[in-house]
């Protein structure tokens, strides 16, 4: 049972999703506007946010950015199929995943489970703390430090970093990363990976135009290092 914060302006869609998610065993708090959802979130913690991008007043991107500014909880965007630019913008604003409306309850449920799994992290990691130059990764406590200072990573970003850094130097294709981090594999959207890599680099690299930790291997994908 997780606490789901649902933000959707259409009352019938909101009600439908609330019913569906509640039946899956979640406790759902539903809001019709971003402002009210943010106000609620400030007082009451949640495990996952399901966020419609097209909102009256403050739009979904801004809501996403505001949540990201304070918290690392996973965010799933609700988007329409033909809003490709919105998907990219939403991922850049910090969303972890997106689903296309209309969405069936079991699809949304699977995505929620996936982001919650990766935000909970892997429980049993043998080596507690690894050093990679200025970067320290504590796999047990799920804390990443740079020069000793903690780096605030969103759940997906953390999972991506953990996946890549587990085998430094190994090249991962976008599909492999989608499968490992997003549970999506070949039917996933590789822009999820690209957007997440960009956000991760912005937080851990000294120079995002010449990344050393998360490197692009043209034609193949990404790898951690070599340092």
């Amino acid at each position: 049972m997780s606490r789901v914060l649902l933000v959707e302006d259409h009352s019938t869609v909101r009600e439908g999703l609330r019913i569906a998610l509640t039946r899956q065993g979640h406790s759902v708090e539903a809001f019709e506007s971003g402002e009210r959802a943010l106000a609620h979130l400030a007082a009451t913690p949640a495990d996952v946010v399901v966020l419609d991008l097209m909102l009256p007043g403050m739009d979904g991107f801004e809501v996403c950015r505001r949540i990201r500014a304070n918290q690392d909880l996973p965010i799933i965007m609700l988007t329409a199929r033909d809003d490709d630019m919105d998907v990219v913008a939403g991922l850049e604003a910090g969303a972890d995943d997106y689903v296309v409306k209309p969405v069936q309850a079991r699809v949304l449920e699977a995505r929620i489970r996936a982001v919650l799994r990766r935000s909970n992290g892997r429980a049993a990691e043998p080596a507690a703390e690894e050093r990679h130059r200025e970067l320290t990764i504590d796999r047990a406590a799920l804390v990443v430090r740079k020069d000793g200072a903690p780096v605030g990573l969103a759940p997906t970003e953390l999972r991506l970093l953990l996946e890549l850094s587990a085998t430094p130097g190994q090249v991962f294709s976008r599909q492999q990363l989608l499968e490992a981090v997003w549970d999506q594999g070949y039917l996933g959207d590789s822009r999820l990976v690209d957007a997440c890599v960009q956000r991760l680099r912005a937080k851990i690299e000294n120079d995002t135009t010449a990344p050393v930790y998360v490197q692009t291997v043209r034609g193949f994908g990404y790898r951690f290092g070599p340092l």
């Binding site: 259409h10 309850a105 294709s173 996933g188 043209r218 994908g221």
Partner: protein, 469 residues
Amino acid sequence: MTGWALGLRGRLLLAFAMLGLTTTALVAGVSYGQARTVILQKAQDAAVLSLVDEVSRLDPVRQLPPSPEQLNAIAAVVSTGPDAAVVAYGDGYAPSGLHPSELPQPLRAAVREGKVVWQRFSRDGTPTLAIGTQLMATRGDGSTEPTGIEVYRLHPLDDEQHSIEALAALAWSTGAASLVLAVLLALLAARGVLRPVRELGRAARRLGEGDLRTRAAVQGGDELAGVALIFNQTAERLERQVGELRRMEADARRFVADVSHELRTPLAAMTAVTDVLDEESEQLPGDAGKAARLVSQETKNLAQLVEDLIEISRFDAGTAALSRDDIDVAAAIRATLRSRGWTEEVTTSLPDGVVARLDPRRLDVIVANLVGNALRHGAAPVTVSLRAAAGQVEVAVSDSGPGLAPDVLAHVFDRFYKADSARSRSDGAGLGLAIALENARLHGGTLVAGNRSAHGAVFTLRVPTGDPA
């Protein structure tokens, strides 16, 4: 080469040149002939008059036959300047003059008959006028009688010849000049006529190539300008009508897109609760359970239809975009089959290691539509095979049904085309194959429907491998 094959320019040139030549030849020829006659006539008349006058003033011959001295004296009078004289009497002649054999014989015969005659002839290549008369003797009563002394003057026509030659040369040069002028005029006329013709041709070609805003320049008020005017009016009407058609089509498409988007919100609400209906339908009694399952199923179908409509609207609007990625095609096809529960039903021949730069979602849509279509309308076994060759990836989906009839084959990618008109909407292909085709084209590839030589239909997708990013 015939006149037609010469082209308009050639024919115009030829006509002008012929006209120029004919006119010049006619005018120059007639004037030359006329001038020549006049010149010669004048010279002739003057020479005849002067000889007759001079002869009449000679001292009368008192006795016959005259002595050679007398003949010489006559010859001396007659041969003035360049003129030579022949003075003859019977077989005798003036030794100081020329020999009578230099004269044309018919001339002598006429003079002997007492006439004053003249004749032009060529003497050693020089055109010469010979004038002859008999010397007259005056009788006591004042009448005259021929003496039998023949006096000839040979007057060279050099000057006249030169004048005539100059005239001929002038005629030739006038002819040449007028020919050049005619050709120049012909070129000018051809240009004047041909330029608008060429421009009209260019405009017609541009119009044919689809540039409906093309207009021809209208110059002056001649027939060509009339043609250009008609061309412009036609182009204008065509542009207006095509524009109208395009507007109507765009309106219709926008309407479909708008309606689809409007349907999306209620469908989003309904779709969210279809799982609830599915789960609860087991507990609902009788018809209520059936109704719940029906609503749930048709909601999913409707949602798919609306998504397809929105998808095809994006292709129509040209806003469909590719999101390419390097993918293992075999793995992607397996994922498509697995996610739809088709792995057991479909035979595959998918070699590993075929990597192409494609949009995974769109490849999934293509393969899912082709396999779904084969499973619905063909017969088992349905086979999916993959081949890579020469920068291309080829995916073939074949079934073992009766194949596609020729009239079906021609329309199989049409929207909402039903091979069997009795078949209901809900299990028809709808937009699936049309969307698959658009997706193939978006990748710069092709999707072809055909029949296998044995039994069954085969849909073959060919897309370029693409350059790795």
